[in-house]
């Protein structure tokens, strides 16, 4: 059964310096509150994994938590570039950022392999692109039946995966719905997992489109209402599109960024 914990305790227990950490959520249900807690606790040298490193990873990268990024699309969706990500790649600020770059199909299948206890996944992907020239973790494999050549990518096995969901019950069973992205695979691929939820309830009433993660497959659950803002939690909140637009200006400037982190992350009163 998953342990019910305070978010700060969950991050302290499960996310360590140097870890391979995946925060997932595909536009919807992005675990911003957990990301901010990681910044507050000053984690360093993380290998950050995420299909779509968007504003949350821009913040973690700018705050100096990351040494390496494994990803497939790094932008501010519907707005433009991630300026902290670009500053790290182009100018090594606040430190160098190693990249391991994939396509969405490759990343999704890497999580699937991790969740499946397999060392690799097979797909039709990357062929003819320049990605394999820069990413060692893309190889070819031959079908033992047809001799056709396909692409192989190795399993992703994060030390810890963090996701946000709508609800959990007191046994730590987690329920999410709407766009659920790659979250199930990311949790099952990881050695440890932390799920933040809008609320903890006595009973998980079934919801159409739900994905349920049994409590015995999750390490810890923390209540974090609004924990996906400025992303959203279907049924609980709507996306704060203005924030994403506003982030462009904040993140363009190192000082504006530092000031924002100071005021909105570091100096925030956190509930225990």
């Amino acid at each position: 059964m998953a342990k019910l914990v305070a978010l700060s305790d969950g991050v302290a227990d499960l996310v360590h310096d140097g870890d391979v950490v995946a925060l997932e959520g595909f536009t919807h249900l992005i675990p911003f509150a957990a990301g901010h807690e990681i910044i507050r606790q000053g984690r360093r040298d993380l290998t950050l994994v995420r299909m779509t490193p968007d504003v949350i990873y821009d913040q973690l990268i700018g705050a100096g938590c990351a040494r390496r990024l494994i990803f497939s699309w790094g932008g501010n969706p519907g707005v433009g570039s991630l300026h902290r990500f670009r500053d790290a790649v182009q100018n090594s600020w606040p430190g160098p950022l190693e990249l391991e770059e994939h396509s969405h199909a490759g990343m999704a299948n890497r999580y699937v392999a991790g969740a499946s206890g397999l060392p690799f996944a097979v797909l039709r992907g990357y062929t003819g692109t320049d990605l394999p020239r820069h990413t060692a973790n893309i190889r070819t494999i031959t079908c033992p039946f047809t001799a056709e050549t396909l692409t192989a990518v190795p399993a992703l096995r994060p030390d810890v995966t963090v996701v946000h969901a709508q609800r959990a019950d007191r046994a730590g069973n987690v329920q999410m719905w709407g766009i659920t992205g790659v979250q199930k695979e990311a949790v099952l691929a990881a050695r440890r997992s932390l799920v933040t939820v809008e609320e903890i309830v006595d009973e998980l009433d079934p919801v159409p489109g739900q994905v349920v993660l049994p409590g015995w497959a999750v390490t810890a659950v923390a209540e974090a209402p609004g924990g996906s803002h400025p992303s959203y939690a279907q049924g609980y909140s709507v996306r704060d599109n203005a924030f994403y637009v506003g982030w462009d200006a904040i993140s363009r400037d190192r000082d504006a960024f530092r000031d924002w982190i100071e005021r909105h992350v570091l100096k925030v009163e956190v509930q225990a």
Partner: protein, 259 residues
């Protein structure tokens, strides 16, 4: 140029017209999403919109603000996981049309959305990267590209091949084992390019009203081939403009536009 509409509006309308009713279209965010939703709001009410967030058959009544907008899940025939949308739906070739943008495009329709200038490890500009595009370009029945035409974008050679068009020319897709048909058409703010049936080179086949061949040549960093029978496209109809502006207006109310 006609003052009734902008070049971007003409481009979006021309792109929308490329989508046939009843087909399934894998939609990227931004210009492709605007054009696909305009097609559904005009001549292609049964266009099946597929978003990489896992929404199959989404029917938004406003422009989604991201590929993971809640309205996509709310209106979809089915919402599936991200691995499923790539493995069960895109990869086997079930999607008729892949609708892509580009930061750079070359004469063979190869697309770059990764890095510009310098080298990969120390680029002048770091772009978002591949996302779903390499496999969309590989596996869809055909690809429609929508991109503004200028010397920065229409380059002799892309700095990085993120998504393969026709590679280095005829036969390359087959040699690589790519099962989709590749770029069928490129829609720009100046006109329409289509691959030459023999050489696979993108060829200017149509200009938008008021645009000249010289303008298109001047906005292309390679020696642009022009079709013998170059045509001029129809301007946006009143109906198309009204529907498009209604779509983008609902979006502006909800935040920033999807471009």
């Amino acid at each position: 140029m006609n003052a009734d509409y902008t070049a971007d509006e003409m481009m979006t309308v021309a792109a929308a017209r490329q989508l046939r009713d009843g087909t399934a279209c894998f939609v990227g965010i931004g210009l492709p999403s605007t054009a696909a939703n305009l097609a559904r709001a005009t001549h292609a009410p049964n266009l099946v919109l597929i978003y990489e967030s896992g929404c199959l058959g989404a029917k938004p009544d406003r422009l989604p603000l991201s590929i993971g907008d809640g309205i996509l899940a709310d209106t979809a025939d089915a919402v599936v996981s991200v691995p499923e949308v790539f493995n069960y739906w895109l990869q086997p070739g079930r999607i008729d049309v892949g609708f892509l943008g580009a930061a750079q495009l070359d004469r063979y329709g190869n697309i770059n959305t990764t890095v510009i200038g310098g080298d990969y490890d120390d680029p002048s500009v770091r772009l978002p990267g591949a996302g779903g595009a390499p496999e969309i370009a590989a596996s869809c029945g055909e690809v429609v590209v929508i991109v503004r035409q200028n010397l920065r974008t229409f380059v002799e050679r892309v700095d990085f091949v993120t998504s393969v068009g026709y590679g280095a020319g005829p036969g390359d897709r087959e040699r690589l084992g790519l099962r989709g048909g590749g770029p069928r058409v490129v829609i720009t703010d100046l006109g329409v390019l289509e691959p030459d049936p023999v050489s696979c080179e993108l060829t200017l086949t149509r200009l938008h009203p008021g645009v000249t061949t010289d303008q298109a040549r001047a906005a292309t960093d390679w020696d642009l081939a022009v079709a013998e029978r170059l045509t001029t496209g129809d301007p946006p109809t009143r109906h198309e403009l009204t529907r498009m502006r209604a779509l983008t207006a609902t979006t502006r109310e909800n935040g920033r536009g999807g471009t």
